[in-house]
């Protein structure tokens, strides 16, 4: 199968007055259509840099990034919801369409439909301040989906939430992504999250980061993230990846 996105020998150096910091030391990675791929690694290893480069927020220093075709649209979900407080929930969700000049009656209807499907329709005309953290992040996901992206980049989307909200929201997000049939790259430092949510987990090394190992997450009774957490395999993967991370403080 031809990958949706293939990354070869991707390097990134950061310059500052004291010299050069090698963040990415040659990343090789393929992402296939319809999968959720998690990227885990020690903090500061350049996970976010990788997403930034893939979505053209930053320039790479060297290497190759190839998308299956030129027209692939990226949806980026950030750590914070970044909902504009002066826009209603619906207006926030339409932001991407406005920016990309594709706001039509039809696309607007589709967004309203998304909000309805995921239980946010009654808040459509409310302002973000009246929503809880979990709901706001759900709105952020709908905003990301509104532009109908081919691939989703999720940059620690749950890290700003409390534990319980986080578990429930990751369940939600998993269901939404699978239901909409999207491909997703999830960057996280939470091993349990990555194992329970994804089809594959890529473990990055310390800086300069390379892909140390890739796990196909296979479980006999694979189901939703919450259920996956209860399986025997979950713990085994957890142990293995924990050892791969090789964290010494």
């Amino acid at each position: 199968m031809k990958p949706l996105l293939s990354i070869r020998k991707l390097k990134k150096n950061y310059q500052d007055l004291d010299g050069e910091v090698e963040a990415l030391g040659g990343i090789d990675l393929d992402v296939y259509e319809g999968e959720i791929l998690s990227i885990v690694g020690p903090s500061g290893c350049g996970k976010t840099s990788l997403l930034s480069i893939l979505s053209n927020l930053e320039n790479k220093s060297d290497g190759n990034v190839k998308f299956q075709n030129e027209t692939i649209k990226i949806g980026y979900m950030l750590q914070k919801d970044a909902l504009f407080p002066w826009r209603t929930i619906l207006e926030n969700c339409l932001l991407g369409l406005e920016i990309q000049h594709s706001l039509t009656e039809e696309s607007k209807k589709r967004v309203i439909e998304l909000l309805k499907t995921y239980g946010l329709s009654e808040f459509m005309d409310k302002y973000p301040s009246s929503l809880s953290g979990g709901m706001r992040q759900r709105v952020a996901l709908i905003r990301t989906l509104a532009i109908d992206p081919d691939i989703l980049f999720l940059d620690e989307p749950f890290s700003a939430l409390d534990y319980i909200t986080r578990i429930y929201l990751s369940e939600d997000v998993y269901n939404i992504i699978k239901k909409e049939g999207k491909t997703a790259i999830l960057v996280t430092h939470d091993l349990a999250e990555s194992i329970s949510l994804s089809d594959r987990v890529a473990v990055l090394s310390k800086r300069p980061a390379v892909v140390k190992k890739i796990y196909n997450i296979e479980m006999k009774n694979k189901s939703t993230p919450m259920e996956n957490r209860k399986t025997k395999e979950f713990n085994e993967y957890y142990d293995k990846i924990w050892r791969d991370l090789d964290v010494h403080l």
Binding site: F84, P85, I99
Partner: protein, 265 residues
């Protein structure tokens, strides 16, 4: 809400009482001040020639109305203030936009802006008269010198304080710089810009009065200047009171506009 509880009723009552108290106290303060001032000057506790009195102020006001074309002076001052207010606001916004758009420009001009802003403009008064002439343009120029730089600095610093995450979000959507400005920077700065206008209106008034003290033949600043030269304290104080009323009214207008524009989210 017909079914509100006694607790809620009490809460509303307390809120209302507090509001009434504030208004009553505000009125009492000015009332007592005026009464004391009047009594003090009537009984000779203070020299009414040097410190005037409320009744003298009223008499001066009435005679100014009859004989000296008071409204013309008020009109001139308000007119000059509004012109410099609009020029300073517009120019301030445009320059702040340019500084935001071209960050290097902002870095280059940063020390100049600071110096120009903190420079005591009165010191430039004589120069301004020599350069521009003893006319209304000088007054407006003086007012601009006082209000423009602070407007630029305030609006620009508001532009800079836009959350990094918001900008990143728009960049992930491939927004152009113009889109970031229109969709994020301006709406995100609505409150800040209104506040700048509030500061600007009083700055413009200060500038205009300063200018009028230096050069003019008309306006409230001129009346103050003239009054102090001929030792007519009644005239000086009447003009100052009028100035206070004018600045309060202008502030009120901006506040009304603010209420119209600013939504509470």
């Amino acid at each position: 809400m017909s079914t509100c509880s006694i607790e809620h009723k009490n809460f509303l009552k307390k809120r209302r009482n507090k509001k009434i108290l504030v208004h009553v106290m505000q009125f009492l303060i000015i009332f007592c001040f005026l009464v004391l001032w009047e009594i003090a000057s009537k009984t000779g506790m203070i020299n009414s020639f040097l410190s005037s009195s409320p009744s003298r102020v009223v008499r001066t006001f009435l005679s100014l109305l009859e004989q000296n074309n008071l409204w013309n002076h008020v009109y001139i001052t308000v007119y000059e203030t509004l012109i410099s207010f609009f020029i300073a606001s517009l120019l301030g916004f445009v320059i702040a936009t340019l500084l935001w758009w071209f960050k290097t420009l902002a870095k280059i001009f940063d020390p100049y802006l600071t110096v120009l802003n903190s420079l005591p403009k009165v010191a430039l008064g004589p120069l301004i008269i020599i350069w521009i002439g003893a006319n209304m343009n000088s007054i407006i120029f003086m007012a601009l010198m006082i209000s423009l730089f602070i407007t630029i600095i305030n609006i620009y610093s508001g532009f800079q304080q836009i959350d990094y995450y918001y900008t990143t979000l728009l960049k992930t959507l491939n927004a152009s710089k113009r889109q970031i400005f229109v969709k994020l920077v301006v709406p995100g700065n609505k409150n800040n810009i209104i506040n700048c206008l509030k500061v600007n209106i009083s700055m413009s008034l200060i500038g205009v009065i300063m200018g009028e003290l230096l050069v003019s033949k008309e306006g409230l600043g001129y009346l103050i200047m003239y009054g102090s030269q001929v030792f007519n304290i009644n005239l000086v104080i009447t003009s100052v009171v009028l100035l206070g009323i004018i600045s309060y009214l202008m502030y009120l207008i901006v506040s009304l506009i603010e209420k119209k524009i600013v939504k509470n989210y």
